[in-house]
Symmetry: C2
Subunit: 335 residues, 2 copies
């Protein structure tokens, strides 16, 4: 990972690939920006490294480049929208913006989006709300990839969930995580590097818990966070998404040849509710967290704390890229 | 646990104790019903066994028997309420009912309640919404009792969260769990019985993960679900509760002599959104879950599946009680 690429360079290259695939120039640029931003904040697995697969899905007809979300029905400040199988990142950005509008200035807005596609990084859209001064929450269902607790067969999704709490200096608090303890991307990376996981991440074919990522990739038995608890949370997130959207469930997605048409929920909480009292309470909590005693000289970080610093550094120095992944995308752009 | 007590008998005994403590007869009965119901569904730790401590808190002045929630402000279908340090179970029931009213018939309602008290079992109020045909969600913050990931000092709450998805036959899906892998009640019970935990539940004073409940009670280092993930989720739940209610945070609660004045959030989703299509999707998912392959002859259960069956059985046969706990309450009622 010695190579660094300027953000603008990555942005233009990705946008060009999308324009070659019937994206309008402005939509190509927005979608490319969401991918490049993921690499910029250090999540290349959902940025540059994932981009070739995204193009493949467009070429397979599973993603409709021109698909824009349209409103299906309105229920107070909860709305149902249909994504018409458009590009997940653009649909998600559009629907979080709508949730922000519904929540402004001091209420709560919820958009339930069906017929969507993989949005890449959940945190992008929660952060979007935080950048607008609101609390942002979002979650999606996925195809079955986690066995329910007590079972050996993947029936639950890992259903990523993100939440952002805004701070006036832009260093928002951001939780962003799947229900599985480790994503399949993280397992693959660790297996390639021959590394063990820091905690058990799945159950091997022997029936024993293991921290060997290769054994988990072989058994397809990733552990949910909190064992039976994550198993239950996954079901709840899936059913919430399915009911609110009137869209496809994880079970429905499992009967398809690929993961398209997922169900997603976007929630925003109005900016005026985050007044000075609230901001002071947030800062008091973060100071308290930072001063928690540790066993060594390290200090506790809040979720998302490193993201902002990494973004600034990578904007200045360029985005670190896996040279092979970068070459792949250059080839796809016929450079 | 050989002894069984009829539900009505337990209800009357608990209600009498509350009337002795300035609860009006109707409020004594409702509050007693919430405690008795917890024992009825098999969660005695938040029912009969907890009741003496509840009375103690009233006697200490931390719970105000006459405290009723009043509305502070209205923001569309989100409302802020103040519990005036009333009895947690009654406040929670009142505020979930208000969220149900706000959500009816086909929208979303949210009530943020500050100055509340321990509501005993989160699942009670999510279930309340499901019994009314709505989706119910609720969460609360708590005093600091879980160290943030990387720290040895409790700074986060275990912030219980519950979600219920209604089913027409009354066998609702119910997730109900704290952010810690095991509650302190569960750790104490296991330690008394000399049992090991089924999975590691905390970090011992040696710095090693352990499944010995006594070691965790000694170190006060309970593990959050999903390690760093639960640590992040706990912070998010606390800040959401604090901001939405404009109430006390876990950090604020930590500077008090006891855990009173907690912040709680109640969300309901309107019944008309759970139409036939949604109900069919729910049932399809549960059938899929029940048929997941297992390593033995057991079958996978959905969260809350045992609760309903246990309730029916205990209504018929009487509620199993710990004789010592039952005697304690009888003594408190001067029987």
């Amino acid at each position: 990972m010695a190579q660094r690429v300027p953000y603008e360079r990555m942005l233009r290259l990705l946008a060009r690939c999308l324009m070659d695939r019937r994206f309008s120039p402005d939509r190509a640029l927005r979608c490319a920006a969401l991918f490049a931003e993921n690499s910029l904040v250090g999540i290349a697995s959902h940025g540059l490294n994932r981009f070739p697969r995204f193009l493949e899905w467009i070429d397979n007809g599973w993603i409709n480049p021109g698909g824009i979300a349209t409103r299906v029905s309105s229920h107070g400040n909860l709305e149902r929208w249909d994504g018409h199988l458009g590009p997940g990142p653009l649909l998600a950005e559009q629907c979080m913006q709508r949730a922000i509008d519904l929540a402004s200035p001091d209420s709560l807005g919820c958009v339930a989006l069906r017929e969507s596609n993989h949005w890449m990084r959940a945190g992008s859209y929660a952060w979007q709300a935080a950048d607008a001064g609101l609390i942002g929450l979002c979650f999606t269902n996925t195809e079955p990839n986690v066995p329910p607790w007590g079972s050996v067969e993947p029936k639950l999704g890992n259903n990523p969930f993100a939440a952002a709490i805004p701070r006036s200096d832009g260093c928002h608090i951001l939780y962003d995580g799947a229900i599985s303890q480790f994503s399949y991307g993280a397992l693959e990376t660790a297996a390639q590097q021959g590394k063990r996981l820091p905690v058990p991440g799945g159950i091997a074919n022997t029936g024993e818990m293991t921290d060997d990522p290769a054994e988990i990739l072989a058994s397809k038995r990733a552990l949910p966070i909190g064992f039976w608890k994550g198993s239950g949370l996954s079901l709840i997130l899936d059913l919430l998404a399915t009911i609110l959207t009137a869209g496809r469930s994880t079970c429905d997605l499992g009967s398809q040849n690929a993961e398209y048409g997922v169900s997603q929920v976007f929630i925003a909480v109005g900016a005026r509710l985050i007044d000075r009292t609230a901001s002071e309470a947030i800062e008091r909590t973060l100071i308290d967290l930072h001063t928690a005693r540790t066993e060594d000289t390290s200090s506790v970080r809040y979720p998302g704390e490193q993201l902002y610093a990494r973004r600034i550094e990578n904007l200045r120095l360029g985005i670190p890229v896996d040279p092979a992944a970068w070459d792949d995308v250059k080839r796809l752009a016929c450079e």
